[in-house]
Subunit: 246 residues, 2 copies
Amino acid sequence: MAVVQSVTRAFTILEALRGGPASLSEIARQVQLPISTASRLLATLEHVGAAERLDNANLYRIGTGIVTMATGVDASRSLTALAREELRALAVQSGEAVGLSVTSGYTVHFIAEERADVAVQLRDWVDTRLPMHLVAPGLVALASWSDDALDNYLGRELESRTPNSMTDPTALRARIEKIRETGLAWTCDELEIGISSLSSPLIARTGEVVGGINIHGPTFRFPGSRAKDFEKMVRSSAERINQILA
Amino acid sequence: MAVVQSVTRAFTILEALRGGPASLSEIARQVQLPISTASRLLATLEHVGAAERLDNANLYRIGTGIVTMATGVDASRSLTALAREELRALAVQSGEAVGLSVTSGYTVHFIAEERADVAVQLRDWVDTRLPMHLVAPGLVALASWSDDALDNYLGRELESRTPNSMTDPTALRARIEKIRETGLAWTCDELEIGISSLSSPLIARTGEVVGGINIHGPTFRFPGSRAKDFEKMVRSSAERINQILA
DNA sequence: TGCGACTTCCCATCATACGGGAAGTTTCCG
DNA sequence: CGGAAACTTCCCGTATGATGGGAAGTCGCA
């Protein structure tokens, strides 16, 4: 299969730009091309709208043209769609409801849910935004944050929703330390009495935790005896989704 | 400013792919390149993940690589993110659910939704694809099409979902003519009994209608008395989003 | 003022993108 | 079933156009 050199190189440059705005020489170094070649390719990318130049500076970044392109992508392959099958499988396997959430600022935003067919169900969390320290996917996200970012989060007034909500910064810090070791968070009766949940992180190509998937349901259906199984399931599901993301 | 021919051509092809999956020869025709050249460029795009080939068929479509690229863009600049604020405002203002959709081939694809806090709500349409002639954003898109394209659409068997679904080509043509004048489409009980909707088009930089935003809800909440207000709201919201797109 | 790092532009060179066409495959009709 | 039409894939000779070294210009800094 014949492949056009210049086009391949152009996309390599685009890939490099994902790391954030960069100058011509930085990019040339990064992709190992002579400056003049990189310059010509960047000019071309700019020309077609795939890259843009920061206002006045000599910095390039990915352009809006790419975003427009992306909206034309068959939607069945958006993150939620890609993940949906996986979520469904996990719901069936666990017999519980399964959620997909993304982190945004200081909140966790649930964007998809799949549920098994059992009588007692929780309410639908899709499209709700919740404080990170009260939900399992929020805790795994916090666990990925730098100390500084974490300090900022914990330094604020922390919302409480049940007597079980944990709002003490020191206690939370210790708990997060544990999560860092296990890569998995449990919550129990912290958001609402009677709800238990466990979550594993979703990790973007950049290494950043962008969200989580979680199994949740009535606390009485989450006894210690099923815990290990649940943990294994949610871990391997997250693993598979991460592979798609990578 | 020197520009690399092959790279420019590659992006032209990518642009052409936005119209939906297409075969090698279709694309070659569309972008006016010799088949062998188009073939080589498509192979390259496939190689870098910017295009992919439909399972077995000889159809290419935009690839996940582009989506991944787009996620590298400052999130505040993605279409849905840009539009979200606007949608939310519109939902609050109208007190109804508000949808954002893009057109793709002969279908309308809902990609985002915001809803007001009212008791009776419709199901979530996000991630569904619907025939253009049954939904308001589809009708405004059709209204922007050339006569030839419209003939093609209307020449096919048109799906019907309720007794109110309009499937007669002549009637649809007349209706679309009206929409062309007003720049706004209403539907009532045509997709599902009890759902009303109105929509204004989203117009890309190229002048092409790429999608629409719409207000929708239970028909009983869409009396004539509110119609004018709704029309004004959806129009000005679309206007603002279009300004962002331009 | 001079140095270093950077961007832009030019131009000779030849690697490489190009496109016609052959060969193979599928689709569509009569 | 047969044969034409339309399509995809592959090959290869040609010359176009991508390439990269380097000069010239710019900026910041000491």
